[in-house]
């Protein structure tokens, strides 16, 4: 069993950076699903790049690029069953996509609007992905609460909560680990350690050798995984979700990866990050690694890869278009969903607003 093979200082790896197996392939994985996830990784990258481009044109809000972290993200989301829950920060959108959450939902959000139900739940299916979290580490407690509820109700669902390395310094992260341990919640708490919290390097978040060691203090098994190795992330995530589903409680996972892009479209990482570091990580690009493996396996050819990549880009463009074509709420849409029902004062305020903006009744 992997869990007993605790080597906290050595990231668990299945594929080396050249795409060569250093361990046997995880069981139960088909080439078809690997190619599917590879496709989702590309969709995630294209989507992130697309939003950056739209932001530059003034057509999207501030955005936190996800590139470089696709293997971790997709591995996190791909193991989930329909009844499971997922909650992550703004940089975990790739995990949402791997779970099936529509790219259009996040694209709509980047228009500066809360994505409505019909965009997030096409065909009426609730993907059980909470709104991408803004306040760092907050969502880890939601993940544990969702998992506690699943356990209380006797449901066979697990919850994945994702955050970054900076989040581990927040109180809520530590409270989440503690609650997860005490209540033996069916939760998998994933730290995507991309080395940087805006300009603050991982080494300034904690004096500890690694972040996974935090699990020991909370009585939670922990793993460190090579976050640019989809097979390794999948295997560790699968094991952790299986444990949770079997009633064996939570797992902490630290995925070592790298934020190839800026913190956000408002950030300039050349101010604080050495160029050599970026070069080192570009060579360890998760897409390159998985592609090399899939080609060597015969699951992909250079030609079919090119088609897949092209198709992913087209798909993203279509999803973004869908989001931009979807109607925006009315100008008074910000009154919606504060409470289930508007308070009498809010009704009056909305009336006044409509009057001031020359909106007719009911618009």
């Amino acid at each position: 069993m992997l869990m007993h093979d605790v080597e906290l200082d050595k990231p668990y790896q299945v594929l080396d950076p050249h795409g060569q197996l250093v361990r046997p392939m995880p069981q139960g994985l088909s080439d078809e699903s690997l190619v599917e996830w590879y496709r989702t990784m590309w969709q995630t990258r294209f989507f992130s790049n697309k939003v950056v481009a739209l932001q530059r044109q003034g057509r999207a809000t501030t955005w936190g690029p996800l590139i470089g972290q696709e293997a971790t993200a997709v591995g996190m989301g791909a193991v989930l069953e329909p009844q499971d829950w997922l909650t992550g920060s703004y940089r975990e959108a790739g995990a949402y996509f791997a779970r099936g959450f529509p790219i259009a939902g996040v694209a709509y959000y980047t228009r500066g609007l809360q994505p409505p139900r019909e965009v997030c739940q096409p065909g009426g299916r609730d993907f059980r992905c909470l709104p991408l979290q803004i306040v760092i580490a907050t969502q880890m407690l939601h993940a544990v609460g969702l998992a506690m509820a699943a356990k209380i109700k006797g449901e066979n669902s697990v919850v994945v909560g994702g955050c970054g390395d900076g989040a581990t310094s927040e109180g809520d992260f530590n409270e989440a680990l503690n609650y997860a341990g005490v209540f033996k919640a069916p939760a998998v708490l994933v730290v995507t350690n991309n080395g940087w919290a805006i300009s603050t390097p991982r080494a300034r978040q904690t004096a500890a050798e690694n972040l996974a060691a935090r699990g020991v203090g909370f009585g939670i098994p922990a793993r460190i995984v090579d976050g640019n190795d989809l097979l390794a992330v999948y295997e560790v995530m699968k094991e952790a979700t299986d444990r949770a589903r079997a009633g064996d409680g939570p797992t902490l996972i630290e995925a070592i990866t790298y934020r190839l892009g800026a913190h956000t479209t408002a950030d300039d990482p050349t101010r604080y990050r050495p160029k050599e570091e970026l070069q080192y990580w570009e060579a360890r690009d998760p897409m390159k690694r998985l592609k090399a493996f899939l080609i060597e396996r015969g699951a992909l050819t250079e030609e079919s890869d090119a088609q897949l990549v092209e198709g992913a880009e087209a798909f993203v463009a279509a999803q973004v278009q869908l989001a931009h074509d979807h109607p925006a709420p009315g100008a008074d849409g910000f009154f919606n969903n504060v409470f289930e029902e508007l308070t009498p004062r809010m009704e009056r305020q909305r009336e006044d607003f409509r009057h001031d903006y020359g909106l007719s009744e009911g618009k």
Binding site: P131, L141, V144, Y179
Partner: protein, 330 residues
Amino acid sequence: MTMIATKFTIIEALNQALAHEMERDPRVVLLGQDIGKNGGVFRVTDGLQDRFGENRVFDTPLAESGIIGTSVGMAINGLRPVAEIQFAGFIFLAMNQLVSQAAHMRYRSAGQYSCPMVIRAPFGGGIRSPEMHADSVEGTFLQTPGLKIVVPSTPYDAKGLLTASIEDPDPVIFLENIKLYRSFKQEVPTERYTIPLGKAAIVQEGQDLTLIAYGAMVSVATEAAKAIKAQTGATVEIIDLRTIWPMDEETIIASVTKTGRAVVVHEAPMAGGVGAEIVAIINENCLYSLLKPVTRVTGYDTPFPPPGLEDNYLPTPARLTSAILRTLED
């Protein structure tokens, strides 16, 4: 339906409300510090763990953000958590989870997810509690869209309002004056009933002045009104807000329009508090009925003092009476 009523304290009334709701609705769970075997430091949850089991009534680690943050997750996933924060003064440790998360989840998710949950918290002075245990926090939450604020003043209201809060589809912070917990008993039906949120009560009708209060200040108001009647013959209409937010503006406006004079009393500090909001409502709606400026009788704009000085800080019937007398002068 005839209701059998027996006399109970607020503690007992709250305990009944929790028990009824747990019995009626399997989604209701209770969590907090020392609420299980110990029944809560004030015994509001006494006996409920024995009755409903550790799966539905459980102690948490000592972490307020954890209590409210996990309640958010539980509420989204179909439960109705009723969380106890041991003292309202400790709630600031959980402000993000309460204000930016619980209160905004429906909004952020465009109505896809919501947080039907209640956060119960004892508050208020007058019992010589250690520092940080007596703070009145309701004013802080007036600036939290998406959160309802309830403060009962009697055992009857406590039961009906807590039941309505648990039933409510949105998060409610339910503030319980520690001083009132056991200070008096009142006839309370043993059956389940609700008191609608957002509706104030007129404690007593009057013609000459409107006195707006809530929580422990309602009995201070009643005493002051009695003194005024005895001294001047003037009758004071007392409004007990019961729900601080959303506020029952209609009742306030109707009363002040009738009386032309108003005094607001609360033990929280004056600046930017509930009283300021009420004065603004009166200003916007009743200015031409007003015969005198509206007066606020409140805690001072200082931290809640140490127990040795708290009596000097809290509004008393005497302070309130002299404010009313000034407002009654022509």
